[in-house]
């Protein structure tokens, strides 16, 4: 080779090397380029030291404490939709961009603040109190939790639905087109061949409040019942939805998430609190309680109210003197290692809480470690003279003989001929210390344990006192036997009982989600019984129902929002066959007439249960008791939230033959509304109107006011209003010419009629009702108005409510609601707000309700039973331990909720949910920490990562809830021909509800496994098996 040629080749190679270099060096080169142009290779920063940290919303003079607002920002108070806690928050807004900058707590708000400020504190002063001036802000904080902080991204999420969508493919095909709001209304009202799949019946013709929907069963009510309304829960706007559903459209069928949230718990506590209508419940008075027992609820991991509960718990175990025990299959954040012996976690096998509760009750009764004096008070008079806020029915006598016509009822004065039946003075009968039968209202004290016969009009009957009955139930098994069942050592149970009772009336038992098991109702009843036996109701340091809320949406002092001309009331049987005894149905009568046994019914009729979505949906599509024709769902997602529903329901819902019309009102496309025919875009988070209430345990009365603190981002109606749940129902009502919507439908205190044409017509008047209730709020000052960022709202206030109301209404919004002062929390050693109904050792309603399968009465006191199916057969009779060795349960994520997965700032902290497996089980099934395992149940199979440790009960498998999504951004949708791509990271992890299955004792696949008494979805204690999956990349 000659030299030139060689040099040429070398040169070429050198050039190649240099080219590779250039390719490899593009990163630094790019940075250099940027550096050259901008002086930095990154994003320009606003400040040398603080980079792009947010500009402070206000400043505080270090000497005087004077507050100076940042003119570019606005702070406004509204509500957080980060979870059902619905905290009041303060939102920092960039005025110029109408953009939310960051969120923290409203200092006036009991759900957010340590000790909420007096409503009369000027707003600027409140800001000073949140600052570092004299450490005030950290001596008394008002916070937003991680989700509450991250949730602002929902507003700007690219997964938001901003236009009215109509499906263009078959249901669930994820294909949509945008349509104008008015077209959507036209179509759903008139019906027609809307999807090229045949005729769809419109809402106009469904809305028939006269014609019976089923002439053979007239009790089912009118055709209008064939519209099913569904909602997650009351986020502050339910009143408007219900006005439409019940009182204007006239459908009976409305359901919210209660039945797959915590219904078994709520009913169990309702049974104890003698409230089978609203199912009241209590929470510990954290600030003063000395000992708390959390069974199946985990304050600070979840729990309602999440943030307040977490904060109170943290303070109580740190600076307070509370001690607590958590009984839970899983280790949660509530068990604090740092708090040392202030708290302890005891693990339990899922679904066995009745055993634990009955064991504790047994110990208390046998060892006479109960509030004898309190329980011995038979009636109001006795309670009053003893200085108690209420009494219990421990001493009341129950008619025991099954063949007595009043079997299961309390023996009343009329039964022994001392009063007119049903009369006011027909009081229950008790046995006084002399052994005489007397009126519960006459005796100062009555005997607790009674079993005797009594001569009644119907002959001699056996009667037993409630407490006697309870003891009988409790002593069916020994503590050792109970211990065996629940997997907690008998000595541990005894110690726990002893400890619990050693604090007298300053002890509290609390429960919630853990009760969503196959024995949940009685477990919840039993756990609440501990509070009754300890006498901790209504006591400082005991358990509290709370202060309740100011209701503005009823027949208020300024405007009547409950009644209107033409208002109707819903009629007929709920789709879920609840609140209605089977024995009153035509079907029952036909059976009896035909001489057949009416039992079992075709499907459960639950007289005690409220209307429940868990039955509504499948019943409505399957047609028993009747079929629905249309459904409007607002913000609900049962197909993600109810165990086993998707598998059972999806195909049925996809078929337009089963249901003609499904309209969803929502901010997002979720696992349920992806099957909708239309999606109406709704306001999100801080763009909403509404009034939300308090949670139990919040000792003072309160109502949160929310208003669109930033402009809603979705499409507008032709009239220029944002399309939302509010405008949807208002416009739909008007289009259907329903009463209650349009002009002249709201009556003012002065007799004048006002229109309901826009959201604020309703909400601002409700605000006036609240602001003017009892002692009206003072007028807001100019300074308050500026400081609380409500300037943009003022015009609307002034043009909607009267001049006299405007000041107080502005005051209400400038504080983010109306809040009773802290002083009202207590009244000496008692709570300021008490629960005065007689507490039920025995619940008469429960004890006299007939199970529609067996035809037998329910047990009226807490009792032990294993998880069971509708026919009463036990879980393990169908799904043996040999085949399904583990019991899966779920617990809420402390970070996520059911719809938070789209929030990047939460995903970056915890991107998925490894499942908890006990190391002994892991060993048994050959699983190592970090292995991919398959979890199989009778209803489904999922893949998960195993977190092997000591953090779960042996024999149980724990799944954190909030992951394993299929929608909310996980899947792709075609909208107007363009693909909106899904993000696979949103689908990471598992959802235990995919392991749900149908009750094998119900007619082929007609229902998921539901708790018998309540119809609550069962998500705790699902039988599963696991195996390592090796063949996964």
């Amino acid at each position: 080779m000659d030299k030139n040629r060689r040099n040429f080749l070398k040169g070429a190679a050198a050039a190649g090397g240099a080219a590779t270099f250039a390719a490899g060096y593009y990163g630094p080169l790019e940075k250099m380029g940027k550096g050259l142009v901008n002086g930095t290779s990154g994003k320009a920063t606003a400040d040398r030291l603080h980079g792009n940290s947010l500009a402070p919303e206000y400043t505080v003079n270090p000497q005087t404490g004077e507050v100076a607002l940042n003119p570019d920002q606005r702070i406004a108070f509204t509500v957080c939709y980060g979870c059902t806690t619905k905290c009041g928050v303060r939102v920092r807004i960039d005025k110029n961009e109408d953009k939310v900058l960051r969120v923290s707590g409203n200092p006036y708000h009991p759900l957010s603040a340590d000790e909420h400020l007096d409503e009369n504190t000027p707003v600027l002063e409140a800001f000073q109190r949140m600052s570092s001036f004299k450490d005030q802000g950290q001596l008394n904080r008002s916070t937003a939790c991680a989700r509450g902080n991250a949730a602002m991204a929902q507003l700007t999420s690219d997964q938001r639905v901003t236009n009215c969508l109509k499906r263009t493919g078959p249901r669930g095909s994820n294909q949509w087109e945008s349509v104008p709001f008015e077209q959507l209304l036209d179509e759903i009202v008139a019906g027609g061949d809307l999807f090229g799949e045949g005729q769809v019946e419109g809402l106009r013709s469904i809305r028939d409040v006269k014609t019976p929907l089923d002439p053979d069963n007239p009790e089912y009510g009118p055709k209008a019942n064939q519209l099913l309304m569904m909602e997650a829960t009351d986020y502050g706007r339910s009143a408007l939805l219900k006005r439409f559903a019940f009182n204007a459209f006239g459908t009976r069928n409305y359901g919210h998430h209660g039945a797959y949230c915590g219904l078994a718990f709520r009913m169990g506590s309702g049974a104890l609190m003698n409230d089978m209508g609203k199912f009241a419940h209590v929470k510990p008075d954290y600030a003063n309680v000395k000992f708390a027992l959390f069974i199946g609820t985990a304050p600070s991991q979840a729990g309602n109210p999440f943030k307040r509960g977490g904060r109170m718990l943290a303070q109580a175990r740190t600076t307070g003197d509370m001690e607590y025990v958590l009984v839970d299959p899983a280790l949660t954040a509530a068990a604090s290692h740092s708090a040392g012996d202030r708290n302890r976690w005891i693990s339990i096998l899922p679904g066995t809480d009745t055993a634990l509760a009955m064991a504790l009750i047994r110990w208390m009764l046998v060892n006479e470690a109960y509030a004898k004096d309190f329980l011995g008070l038979p009636g109001n008079l006795a309670a009053e003279s003893a200085g108690e806020a209420g009494h219990s029915n421990a001493t009341h006598l129950v008619i025991e003989d099954d063949n007595h016509p009043r079997a299961g009822h309390f023996l009343r004065l009329s039964d022994i001929g001392q009063a007119e039946a049903g009369a006011d003075e027909d009081h229950p009968v008790v046995v006084n210390s002399e052994g005489q039968l007397v009126s519960a209202e006459a005796a100062k004290r009555a005997q607790l344990f009674i079993e005797r016969t009594v001569e009644t009009g119907e002959g001699l009957v056996t009667v037993r006192s409630s407490l006697f009955k309870l003891r009988k139930e409790a002593t069916q098994f020994s503590i050792e036997e109970y211990a065996d069942i629940c997997g907690i050592h008998a000595d541990v149970i005894r110690k726990l009982a002893k400890r619990f009772t050693s604090f007298g009336r300053k002890a509290a038992a609390d429960t919630h989600g853990g009760m969503m098991s196959g024995a949940g109702f009685y477990a919840a009843y039993g756990i609440n019984m501990l509070n009754l036996l300890a006498g901790s109701f209504n006591h400082k340091g005991g358990v509290a129902k709370g202060g309740g809320k100011f209701n503005g949406m009823g027949a208020g002092p300024r405007y009547d929002l409950a009644n209107f001309p033409g208002k109707i009331g819903p009629k007929g049987v709920f789709l879920s066959r609840s609140k209605f005894p089977y024995e009153k149905t035509s079907e029952y009568k036909r059976h009896v007439a035909a001489g057949e046994s009416p039992y079992p019914a075709s499907a459960p009729w639950r007289k005690l249960a409220p209307p429940i979505l868990t039955e509504h949906l499948l019943s409505g599509l399957d047609g028993y008791p009747y079929k629905i024709k249309a459904m409007i769902g607002v913000m609900a997602n049962p197909m993600y939230g109810q165990a086993g529903l998707s598998a059972l329901f999806e195909d049925k819902l996809k078929d337009p033959q089963n249901i003609g019309l499904y309209v969803a009102v929502d901010g997002f496309i979720n696992e349920t509304n992806r099957f909708a025919d239309y999606i109406v875009p709704d306001s999100v988070m801080y763009e909403v109107w509404g009034f939300t209430g308090a949670w139990s345990g919040t000792l003072t009365k309160m109502t949160t006011a929310c208003w669109p603190v930033v402009e809603p981002r979705q499409a507008k109606t032709a009239a220029g209003e944002p399309v939302s749940m509010d405008s949807f129902f208002i416009e739909l009502g008007k289009r259907l010419e329903l009463p209650g919507f349009g002009d002249n439908v709201i009556k003012g205190a002065d007799g004048k009629m006002h229109g309901l044409n826009r959201a604020e017509d309703f909400y601002l008047r409700a605000a006036a009702n609240i602001a003017m209730a009892s002692k009206p709020l003072a007028d807001a000052t100019e300074e308050d108005i500026t400081a609380s960022g409500i300037e943009p709202l003022m015009d609307r206030i002034k043009s909607t409510v009267s001049a006299e109301e405007a000041g107080p209404v502005a005051h209400l919004y400038s504080r983010g609601g109306r809040f009773e002062t802290m002083e009202k929390a207590y009244d000496g050693e008692k709570l300021g707000h008490t629960w005065t109904r007689p507490l039920c050792v025995y619940n008469e309603q429960v004890g006299t309700t007939i199970d529609s399968y067996s035809g037998k009465r329910h047990v009226g006191t807490p009792t032990h039973h294993a998880p069971r199916f509708w026919d009463g057969s036990l879980l393990r009779e169908h799904y043996s331990e040999e085949e399904w060795p583990l019991l899966a349960f779920s617990f809420k994520s402390n970070l996520m909720n059911s719809y938070a997965i789209g929030l990047e700032r939460l995903r970056m902290i915890k991107p998925y949910n490894p499942v908890l497996l006990h190391h002994n089980d892991a060993k048994k099934f050959g699983v190592s920490h970090g292995d991919t395992i398959s979890i199989e149940s009778p209803g489904g199979k999922v893949l998960a990562l195993a977190l092997v440790g000591d953090n779960v009960h042996e024999g149980a498998l724990g799944i954190e809830h909030g992951y394993g999504h299929r929608e909310l951004g996980a899947a792709s949708h075609i909208i107007d021909g363009k693909e909106r791509a899904g993000n696979p990271y949103l689908s990471a992890g598992v959802n235990i509800n995919d392991l749900g299955f149908s009750d094998p004792t119900r007619k082929d696949g007609t229902a998921t496994w539901l708790e018998n008494v309540s119809g609550a979805a069962i998500r705790q204690g699902l039988p599963v098996k696991v195996r390592v999956v090796a063949d996964i990349a």
Binding site: G39, T40, S41, T45, R48, L49, H50, G51, S53, L54, A55, P56, E57, V60, N61, S104, S132, D135, G137, Q138, L139, R141, T143, A144, C145, A146, N149, S300, K307, G310, R311, A314, R317, T332, A333, S336, H337, S338, G340, R342, N343, R344, W345, N894, L895, R905, M908, P911, P914, G930, T932, L943, D950, P984, Y985, S987, A988, V1029, I1032, A1033
Partner: protein
């Protein structure tokens, strides 16, 4: 780590925490890797944080609010709360241990002297900051911090870390994480002011306070109450499972990896 060494470390952690209470004049000398003089900030103050772990519920409100307040890139943290499942050494009880981590604003911060361009420095009030207009992004300070408290901000391409929210402290507001602390665990303040909440609490709990990695000689100014010796240094624990899998079991990695 054996028990004796751990107990020793715990002891050192306490002593180091205690020593911080004796006000140090900022020792500056010019040897290689010695602390340069402090500059800017209020010379009469010394900011520090106390974290009462007994009150921490692990809610991560601090993590998220800090992230928003300070515009951190997704997946980078000025503060985060580690969560552990722990067995009590005596009782065998199992509980959750939450450990919020952030910059310790060390009295002897190893991150400062390494900086080749003096972009990162300690203010006279103890706050360690980065001048992002001077920073060359060499990441030396990131390596030098024993607490993983620093990172290169992928947006600004400069070193980033907790500033105790100096932009808020300086105008009389609380740092985002403190303001949002649901459990009320985070307490910030001037430890030269004997009346401040933090000073009072430090006095009250003098013997229980611990700091992280005392063996590094950094003299951290984030003090922990309710600390377990086992976590003072890198914990001997089964690590978290980090591979994210989708519903088909495929590994999909961490969405916000850098």
């Amino acid at each position: 780590m054996d028990k004796i060494r751990r107990a020793l470390l715990g002891q050192i952690a306490k002593l180091t925490a205690g020593a911080a209470l004796v006000p140090l004049s900022s020792i500056a000398s010019a040897g290689i890797n010695d602390q340069p003089p402090r500059r800017e900030g209020d010379p009469d103050k010394r900011y520090a944080m106390l974290i009462d772990l007994r009150a921490c519920i692990g809610c991560q409100a601090c993590t998220v609010s800090c992230h928003i307040e300070n515009e951190a890139p997704l997946g980078s943290f000025r503060t985060i709360v580690s969560q552990y499942e722990v067995e009590h050494e005596e009782t065998g009880d199992v509980a959750t241990f939450m450990l919020p981590r952030l910059c310790n604003h060390c009295e002897n911060p190893p991150c400062v002297p390494v900086c080749p361009v003096q972009a990162t420095f300690q203010r006279q009030d103890g706050i360690v900051v980065v001048d992002n207009e001077a920073c060359v992004g060499c990441a030396y300070c990131v390596q030098a911090c024993p607490y993983d408290a620093r990172f290169i901000n992928e947006h600004t391409q400069t070193a980033d870390k907790c500033t105790f929210c100096a932009h808020r402290l300086d105008v009389g507001l609380l740092p985002a994480c403190v303001e949002s602390c649901v459990g009320g665990a985070r307490i910030i303040g001037d430890i030269r002011d004997p009346d401040s909440q933090i000073s009072r609490m430090m006095k009250e709990h003098y013997n229980e306070l611990m700091v992280l990695k005392p063996e590094m000689g950094t003299s951290p100014h984030v003090f922990y109450l309710g600390m377990d010796e086992r976590f003072v240094s890198r914990p001997d624990a089964k690590p978290a499972i980090w591979d994210v899998r989708d519903q088909q079991g495929e590994e999909i990695g961490y969405e916000f990896g850098h």
